[in-house]
């Protein structure tokens, strides 16, 4: 809806990578830790990934739709399972040269598949705008970097290429879903049933909410990979057959269980057959292969896939292949940006040690496999609207976790987890991203390895406070009878949201609430200054700070509630027309209960969150108004608003072509002093209670509003504090704010991060500010911190980094409890 209003084109793309001289000029210094993939094969595969073109692969959705049509009249779950089974059994198996772990969603090295049953809208649009380029050489736009020699018969849509002959069948598929897909169906439902439909539309128009994310709407979770690796899919099938045999369909509820088990059998068979197709392909390739070594490798791949994922894995190699197959199979069930592997270092450690002890595997081989696995994760692309791409930076958030504790609360870090970190150091790909769960019991050895990994500058691992995460899960899932053992088995569902492994419904959310836009509407008496739309009744004059605060609470809670209710309507439609099947099978206890995820089949269902962006800007703005207008009375609110509408005399950010406050140009000096006073008002991140208290109050207000609403699963909403990259696009649509930010400039990133340049008392003061907020009830609280490489140089530097993180996590002194995303730059 509002995509066209966000001007991404003008944001200049930096030239990447910079030359050494350019880096030196900008003050960058080389990374302390620089390593290459450990084998020649790894280097080749990495290079291939980096030079591969992004491809759109509609094969799965076309097959899916074909069978979906044929299965008309079947019970919904059976129809879904049949369509999935048919599609997965018939997609083309492709094994890329040099690979040791096979299988992927698409046919390509970097490929995205389509899920037309969610949203059909933008594919025809993409295709109609595609450039047909025959034998031309041109730069693939947006982001730049890769140049592709075009081949005949390819079309280019944004960053994605597609086979020309697939365009028409894809459009046909989309046409079938027109009016039937989740997005279209939900819109009808909303329009006809939602009392606040006008508010909803206004909120989209003003970008209080970003454009619809239905095309990539699935939640973020960690499947129960152990069901595939340790039990095998045949065991699940046998279990379901047994259950069907022993169940007499009495009430509707019981009958539905039987249908779910039947659907389970279908999808599990589909996955086994799909693996069989790959095995067959590997055998064919082996037969034709001249190189003896590669021939043996291909035969090994075939042998692996003839055994797993049907049967329990016997070796580490099989285990890894089985887990990867499970991951890919689930990700074909729906668009799940944030399907996370979780603790594979724990999952596969027993197989790893057994192989090492029995001499079947060396650590070098394990390292190579983990490196190659990183490329597999990175091969998975996804298509989404450009607005979401900018909100989330196109990231797939497949998060792998090391550290933490076992079910008995003991330190559980192991050698395989060190190998996972080493693979992250050597094979620097964007997926899977890594996280380290720092418990007071976590070994220094693992943390030092993680520090080494941070020092590569790759942007991972993220550091998590394990003790606090456990506390959160115990608190959050109390009403569902959470066990301590489950709460200790924590990983990340997606980017930074705490999730217990294999037992939870996906963390499903509508996207981000634009706090700064909400504040603009409050200050403008209910009108959005950019569009001129009145979205709230007049709020009256603010005589005191409390008047302002009350108005804020009214507007924010209204639009948060509309946003949450909107999502309930969408998910209700999802449940009625597209319940997850294989996704459900691999979450405990869906099979045991005989219910899919959509019907509360998971063991824990209080997982739906609401996200936001820009709270620090609102806190700083309120502090500035409180001090200058209501206490010191140096300015009237009108004077400040006048300055804001004149953008404090600055040039518009989009004209400057840069959205950082540092780069803004003053063109009129009239508001110089006002702007200075606003900038000098208390700012979050300096351990200053004046503003920090407002920040905490704002969050309590936000949290209370979340808890006051009920999700489509019947539990209270959970507040989550993360903003990914929403601060950029949200900033574009917001005018100047009383914290001194000028129009168009990005909002403050992260959650506990200070506005760039305003935290002047060092990192500890920043954390002290941040930790005034008790995050126990929140799903995630995130802080981005950037450090200069010299600050953590050498082993001594790593120690200091580890000390800092441990102290943040430890109970000693101040209770620190947050997610720390340390970047070396």
């Amino acid at each position: 809806m509002a995509t066209q209003l966000i001007d991404f084109e003008k944001g200049k793309t930096v030239k990447w990578p910079p030359t050494l001289e350019e880096s030196a000029k900008e003050g960058y210094i080389p990374r302390e830790v620089v390593k290459e993939p450990s084998t020649e094969r790894g280097r080749r595969i990495k290079q291939r990934l980096l030079s591969a073109r992004c491809m759109l692969d509609p094969e799965f959705t076309m097959l899916y739709t074909e069978e979906w049509k044929k299965a008309e009249g079947e019970p919904l779950l059976i129809r879904r399972a049949r369509a999935y089974k048919y599609a997965i059994e018939n997609i083309t198996p492709v094994i890329h040269p040099d690979e040791l772990i096979a299988m992927q969603k698409s046919r390509y090295i970097r490929g995205a598949v389509v899920y037309a049953q969610y949203s059909q809208r933008y594919y025809p649009g993409m295709i109609s705008k595609a450039e047909h380029a025959d034998d031309e050489v041109y730069d693939v736009g947006m982001g730049g970097g890769r140049t592709h020699k075009e081949t005949k018969g390819m079309i280019q849509m944004g960053i994605f290429g597609m086979k020309e002959e697939e365009a028409e069948p894809l459009i046909e598929t989309c046409n079938y879903w027109d009016g039937k897909c989740i997005e279209d169906e939900a819109e009808k439902f909303l329009r006809e049933s939602m009392p606040e439909f006008d508010d909803l539309e206004n909120a989209f128009k003003t970008v209080l909410y970003p454009p619809s994310v239905v095309a990539i709407m699935e939640g973020r979770w960690i499947p129960a990979y152990d069901m595939v690796v340790n039990q095998g899919l045949e065991a699940i099938i046998a279990d379901c057959k047994e259950k069907i045999k022993n169940t007499i369909p009495t009430t509707r509820e019981v009958a539905e269980k039987v249908i779910f088990w039947r659907a389970t059998i279908l999808v599990c068979e589909g996955v086994i057959n799909w693996a069989g197709n790959y095995a067959k392909k590997a055998r064919e390739m082996a037969a034709a292969e001249k190189d003896g070594k590669r021939k043996a490798e291909l035969i090994k791949i075939a042998e692996n896939l003839e055994w797993v994922p049907a049967k329990p894995a016997r070796t580490f190699y099989e285990g890894l292949q089985a887990a990867w197959a499970a991951h890919t199979a689930v990700s074909l069930d729906g668009p799940i940006p944030g399907l996370s592997p979780g603790r594979w270092g724990q999952l596969l450690y027993p197989l790893f040690t057994k192989d090492i002890e029995e001499g079947r595997l060396t650590k070098e081989q394990a390292l190579e496999l983990m490196e190659l696995l990183r490329v597999k994760f990175s091969s998975e692309e996804y298509v989404s609207s450009r607005s979401w791409e900018s909100l989330a930076s196109g990231n797939l958030f497949q998060h792998m976790i090391v550290g933490g504790v076992d079910k008995n609360g003991r330190c559980s870090d192991n050698q395989l987890e060190e190998i996972i970190l080493e693979a992250g150091i050597r094979m620097q790909t964007i997926q899977p991203t890594l996280g380290v769960e720092v418990n007071t019991k976590t070994s220094d050895r693992l943390l030092m390895k993680a520090a080494e990994c941070t020092k590569t500058g790759a942007g991972y691992p993220a550091w998590y406070n394990n003790n606090m995460s456990i506390e959160h899960c115990l608190q959050n899932h109390m009403e569902e009878g959470v066990t301590l053992e489950d709460a200790r088995d924590i990983a990340m569902g997606g980017c930074v949201e705490i999730q217990m492994q294999g037992t939870c419904h996906g963390i499903c959310h509508p996207a981000f609430f634009n706090e700064v836009k909400c504040f603009e509407i409050v200050l403008n008496d209910g009108v959005d200054p950019r569009t001129g739309l009145r979205v709230f009744e007049p709020l009256g004059e603010f005589k005191t700070f409390d008047d302002l605060w009350q108005a804020w609470c009214k507007v924010e809670s209204k639009f948060m509630k509309v946003y949450m209710r909107y999502w309930n309507y969408v998910l209700a439609v999802h449940r009625e027309i597209n319940p997850l099947v294989i996704g459900s099978v691999l979450v405990k206890d869906c099979v045991a209960k005989g219910k899919p995820l959509d019907s509360n089949g998971a063991r824990y269902n209080k997982t739906v969150t609401l996200l936001n962006s820009g709270m620090v800007n609102v806190a700083n703005s309120m502090a500035a108004l409180k001090r200058l207008v209501f206490e010191e009375k140096k300015y009237t609110l009108e004077e400040i608003k006048e300055g804001m509408s004149a953008n404090f005399g600055f040039e518009r950010a989009d004209k400057v072509g840069n959205f950082s406050m540092l780069e803004q140009k003053r063109i009129d000096r009239k508001y110089e002093n006002l702007h200075k006073d606003l900038m000098e008002a208390p700012k979050f991140g300096n351990d200053d209670d004046y503003v920090d208290q407002i920040f905490v109050d704002l969050w309590h207000q936000y949290n209370d509003t979340c808890f006051s609403e009920t999700t489509y699963l019947g539990y209270p909403w959970v507040p989550a504090a993360l903003s990914i990259s929403a601060h950029g696009p949200f900033g574009r649509v917001c005018g100047a704010t009383p914290d001194g930010r000028v129009a168009g400039v990005s909002l403050t990133d992260g959650i506990l991060s200070a506005t760039p340049g305003t935290d002047v008392n060092g990192p500890i003061a920043l954390m002290k500010s941040g930790t005034k907020l008790d995050p126990t009830k929140m799903r995630s609280v995130q802080l981005n911190m950037k450090m200069h490489p010299n600050a953590v140089k050498g082993v001594e530097g790593s120690r200091k980094l580890v000390d800092l993180v441990k102290l943040i996590s430890s109970k000693a002194g101040i209770m620190y409890s947050l997610i720390l995303w340390i970047l070396i730059c």
């Binding site: 110089e672 001594e796 530097g797 200091k800 000693a812 002194g813 101040i814």
Partner: protein, 312 residues
């Protein structure tokens, strides 16, 4: 009992410092130093009164500062009062502004081009900042008083160190040790580690480079080393003090008084821009940072003598 209301002139507090002293430390920079080392990287620490730093890049030449200056110290720039290489918009008469207490210009500047360096803080205020970092010291880390030279504001420094000791915080000072013996003695009970420089072993040469002779400094180091750990640091200034003979003499002196660790710090130019901002002249002649080979060579000389030598 510590006098928490005692005030001192502080020009910076750096949290989470990982360079000066063991562990994660809080650095407190006190203003005022008796030395005038040619290469001084913290010239804003030299004088014992607040100064105005002028950032040319941020100045738009609005003269809001000149309008409020009670001393008439600020005028529109003319070639005659050029302070540095960059083209400034205003000219500050530093003589006139040295005694100013109001500092109205800093408050008047809408662009942050004029910034105050040095403000009066009570021991209590500094301790509040220290307490924030307290959980991060974990036995190893602590507070380092730097400067300037903390010995130049002895009463404040000692009160502050005393207050830190009451919080069980490890304390260090970074001092040139150019002070009367009695003053240094007062620091001994409240300081866990002394970081000090030996800039030259030859007193005459020392005076040329720093403005003061070295006898008193060396005596104080010798005295301190008897009671407390001393870490000697030698700035390596090419052409001034880096000859083999001086390096060997430095190591010999340290060994004589039981100091077995020396840090050698390569000369750097990171402080140069501050001279312009303060309207001071950078008197150190143009030299380059010594290369790794040079540093390794010096390390070898020192280690041959029997001390542990660390670069940086």
């Amino acid at each position: 009992m510590t006098n928490l209301k005692k005030t001192g002139l502080v020009f910076d507090i750096q949290s989470f410092s990982v360079h000066d002293g063991p562990g994660i430390r809080t650095l407190i920079f006190l203003k005022g130093c008796p030395l005038r080392c040619l290469w001084c990287a913290n010239p804003e620490g030299q004088k014992l009164f607040p100064e105005v730093r002028y950032h040319v890049m941020k100045c738009v030449g609005c003269l809001a500062c000149a309008e409020v200056c009670p001393h008439g110290a600020i005028t529109l720039f003319s070639e005659a009062c050029r302070e540095g290489k960059k083209q400034p918009k205003i000219c500050i008469d530093r003589e006139k502004c040295a005694k100013c207490l109001g500092l109205e210009c800093v408050a008047a500047c809408p662009n942050g081009a004029l910034q105050l360096t040095g403000k009066l803080m009570t021991v209590e205020e500094v301790v509040k900042a220290v307490k924030r970092d307290l959980p991060f010291y974990r036995g190893k880390g602590g507070v380092t008083l730097s400067g300037g030279d903390p010995v130049y504001q002895p009463k404040f420094a000692i009160e502050l160190l005393q207050a830190c000791k009451e919080e069980y915080v490890n304390t260090a000072i970074e001092s040139a040790m150019f002070a009367k013996r009695e003053k240094i003695e007062k620091f001994l009970p409240v300081t866990d580690l002394f970081l000090t420089d030996i800039k030259h072993m030859n007193s005459k040469k020392h005076k040329e480079l720093t403005g003061v002779p070295n006898e008193l400094i060396l005596k104080n180091i010798a005295l301190t080393a008897r009671y407390k750990p001393v870490l000697v640091r030698v700035p390596i200034i090419p052409g001034s003090n880096d000859d083999d003979k001086n390096m060997a003499a430095t190591a010999a002196f340290c060994l004589e008084y039981g100091i077995t660790r020396i840090n050698i710090l390569p000369y750097h130019k990171l402080g140069v821009s501050k001279y312009e901002q303060l309207g001071m002249e950078y008197l150190q002649e143009e030299i380059e940072t010594p290369d790794d080979d040079k540093m390794e060579h010096i390390k070898e000389i020192m280690e041959d003598m029997g001390v542990t030598c660390i670069i940086n």
